[in-house]
Symmetry: C2
Subunit: 148 residues, 2 copies
């Protein structure tokens, strides 16, 4: 670290994963969070120092759902300073694919697989925006705007 | 910040910008760095806390080149722990467009506009990878693999 960086505070890198399951077209894996903020969310978490963001996504998916996720593509980056009330996070969001049945563990009280519009519960953080952007991307091939 | 996050160290979010100039097709804006590591690079820098990554990209482009950049799209995220010898950084890379002539300032000793394969100098950090990925994207529409 160079001396002139020490005085700055920086946002924290996180990951979130849009997991598509084999045999469940149009559905995604959601978790019910075991910790604050409570509610439903995409699987995800913090990137460790010296960890690639892609590896963090695979690790968090495994920890929270038990699934071995193959990352298909990097979808987008979400950095609204108000996206997480606890601190400023910058989330790299991946689209991944997995087989099997997710089982909630670690930060996840349980995991559910359903179509985004059938969840029937609000999503925490800015995950409703991420899921809406994903739905638009799948339907029309349109990626989110640069500032998201 | 929740108590259970305090013990972790995290990588630092950065941005880099692939700037296309009106009237200069096939060329990009590069800077010669005024600080270590010395050499040529894409314009970019650290994301401040409470700053959107897209705003950081526009700010850094302005500071280092004087250009008012319009971001066109979010290209990819680069997080190789060895990409910057000083510390682990996670860079969100944007493609942007600008008019005019870049003038190096701040971290940039000077700015140059040229085709990536005509620069004639090695790029610092992992910027040669970013530029090669960009060239492949422009030529064939192929985005980089998720882990980059």
């Amino acid at each position: 670290m160079s001396g002139d960086q020490k005085q700055y505070k920086n946002p924290k890198p996180t990951v979130d994963i849009l997991i598509e399951l084999d045999g469940r077209p149009g559905e995604l894996v959601f978790i019910e969070r075991a910790n604050e903020p409570r509610g439903f969310a995409l699987p995800g978490g913090f990137v460790d120092e010296y960890e690639w963001v892609a590896d963090a996504a695979v690790r968090e998916a495994k920890e929270e759902t038990g699934l071995d996720v193959e990352l298909i593509e990097l979808f987008h980056v979400y950095s609204d300073p108000s996206r997480d009330k606890r601190m400023h996070t910058v989330s790299t969001v991946f689209i991944g694919r997995a087989k099997g049945t997710p089982v909630g563990s670690d930060d996840a009280a349980r995991a559910v697989v359903c179509a985004p519009d059938k969840l029937g519960k609000p999503l925490v953080f800015d995950h409703a925006t991420i899921v809406a952007d994903y739905a638009a991307y799948k339907a029309r091939g349109v990626r989110p705007p640069p500032k998201r």
